[in-house]
């Protein structure tokens, strides 16, 4: 048998996500870095009590009837983790950017936060990226300067090393990572496009199961071995907008 990590459908790819899972979701703002098809599959799948980890929990879909923004704000077929919040699947967000309500786009996240349905762990973006990377790299905890003397550092262990104060931060032990890439081969090597790499590149390999959503599959050997951003070892399943079923 030859290795082939391509999964036939988006639904199949997320079928084993369990209630209470901690899920890394890549992306940054409305850029083309959100694993939208996988997120929608997870919405259909319906797992509950999820913890979402990412730059932002996401605004989800616009309220019915709300006018689209004056400027097209996202790429085609775009969705983010906010639709899982709107579907009442999420109990916690670990993020750097909770976002705000804005006209025609009330934040369900903030609503559920106010109602006590959800909780928020706010993490500086760099600490978030490093806590994700730490889990990938087998580092359970590390010291960082970020947060010392602020609300973020409160209640955390601190230590002075070489005359400077640091806080101790822990790896995020995630169960699943949903990442968006540009191309993959059957081993799971990934390349990205521009700034759509963002958290996706940091999250691939940082969970027990990493599931990638790509634009297209290429033959093994087509990706330049010097320029593979995510080596295959970090990827468990690949879904393709061209080759996997689901929508």
């Amino acid at each position: 048998m030859s290795i082939n990590k391509l999964v036939g459908s988006f639904d199949e790819a997320v079928a084993d996500v369990f209630d209470g899972a901690i899920i890394l979701i890549g992306g940054f703002g409305p850029a083309n870095g959100s694993p939208s098809y996988l997120i929608r599959a997870l919405e259909r799948q319906g797992a509950k009590n999820l913890t979402l980890v990412g730059n932002s929990p996401g605004h989800g879909r616009r309220a019915p009837g709300a006018a689209p923004p004056a400027i097209r704000r996202g790429p085609p077929n775009y969705d983010n983790g906010g639709i899982l919040i709107q579907n009442n699947q999420v109990i916690k967000a670990i993020c750097a950017f909770p976002g705000h309500s804005r006209p025609g786009m009330e934040s369900d996240f903030h609503k559920q936060l106010a109602e006590g349905i959800m909780s928020l762990e706010m993490v500086p973006q760099g600490t978030l990226a490093e806590r994700i990377r730490a889990n990938k790299a087998g580092i359970p905890a590390f010291f960082t300067p970020t947060g010392v003397g602020t609300a973020i550092g409160e209640g955390k262990e601190t230590r002075i090393i070489d005359g400077k104060e640091y806080v101790l931060e822990y790896a995020i032990k995630a169960d699943f990572a949903l990442v968006r890439a540009h191309k993959a081969d059957r081993w799971g090597n990934l390349v990205y496009q521009g700034t759509s790499r963002n958290f996706n590149g940091a999250m691939a390999g940082a969970a027990t199961v990493t599931i990638a959503e790509v634009d297209e599959m290429v033959e093994l050997g087509d990706l330049n071995p010097e320029g593979i951003a995510t080596p295959s070892i970090y990827v468990n399943r690949v879904t393709s907008r061209q080759d996997s079923k689901g929508e």
Binding site: G29, A96, G126, T144, V148, Q193, G194, T195, A202
Partner: protein
């Protein structure tokens, strides 16, 4: 009192801080505008925390917009020679590791010790800490670009920040719509005033006592 500077003019003044060859990270708002005013003959390498080094021009038309090419402020970038892309962990290695020569951020409050508050207004929805905290701790030099006062004319440069801190003692320079103030070990040093503004007028809108630079200048714009 004279008019206050508009955002573009503040951005122009901020850009005077750019030195040839610097790696610069710009926060959302006025800081971002300053990339339009790179001093003649200087080459600056802009870093964006969402994984890009070496951007410059922005897309100017809908057609040029590429959803794979944005900066952390959501602006659409254009490919340019020397660019490199990387992931968030690498990006914040750059930031936390002290590799950013200059960072310009917006501010809600700055204290006389250079403490910065710029992410959370108590009583509002939880704010967005984003990458600002890592930048404030990690950048070699931090410039804050903000209006000198709140909308109801209250000072934003204070003895002590009342809002939650982004980072203590991190600010090196404050560029406002009426003045340029350096944070020194001896307190705040007024270095420049906007055209038409006196040191006394700036002081009246600033909570801590300002020291006046011996070579106090009018901002040249």
């Amino acid at each position: 009192m004279a008019e206050r500077l508009d955002e573009q003019t503040m951005a122009l003044r901020v850009a005077r801080e750019f030195e040839d060859g610097m790696v610069v990270n710009l926060g959302v708002g006025i800081p971002t505008l300053s990339s339009n005013y790179i001093p003649e003959g200087k080459e600056i390498i802009f870093q964006s925390e969402n994984g890009c080094l070496g951007y410059g021009q922005m897309a100017t038309s809908e057609e040029e917009r590429d959803f794979n090419l944005i900066n952390a402020g959501g602006q659409f970038l254009i490919k340019q020679p020397g660019m490199a892309f990387f992931d968030h962990a690498e990006s914040f290695s750059m930031i936390r590791g002290g590799h950013i020569d200059l960072c310009v951020l917006g501010g809600l409050q700055v204290s006389e010790k250079g403490d910065l508050a710029n992410w959370l207004i108590p009583g509002r929805e939880p704010g967005a800490i984003g990458g600002a905290m890592d930048l404030a701790f990690g950048a070699t030099r931090l410039v804050i670009a903000m209006t000198h006062t709140t909308k109801d004319n209250q000072p934003k440069i204070l003895y002590k920040c009342s809002y939650p801190l982004t980072a203590p003692g991190c600010v090196n320079l404050i560029v406002t719509d009426i003045a340029v103030i350096e944070v020194t070990d001896d307190g705040l040093l007024l270095k420049e005033t906007a055209p038409g503004w006196t040191a006394e007028e700036v002081q009246a809108l600033t909570e801590p006592k300002l020291k006046i630079a011996l070579d106090l200048k009018q901002m040249s714009l």
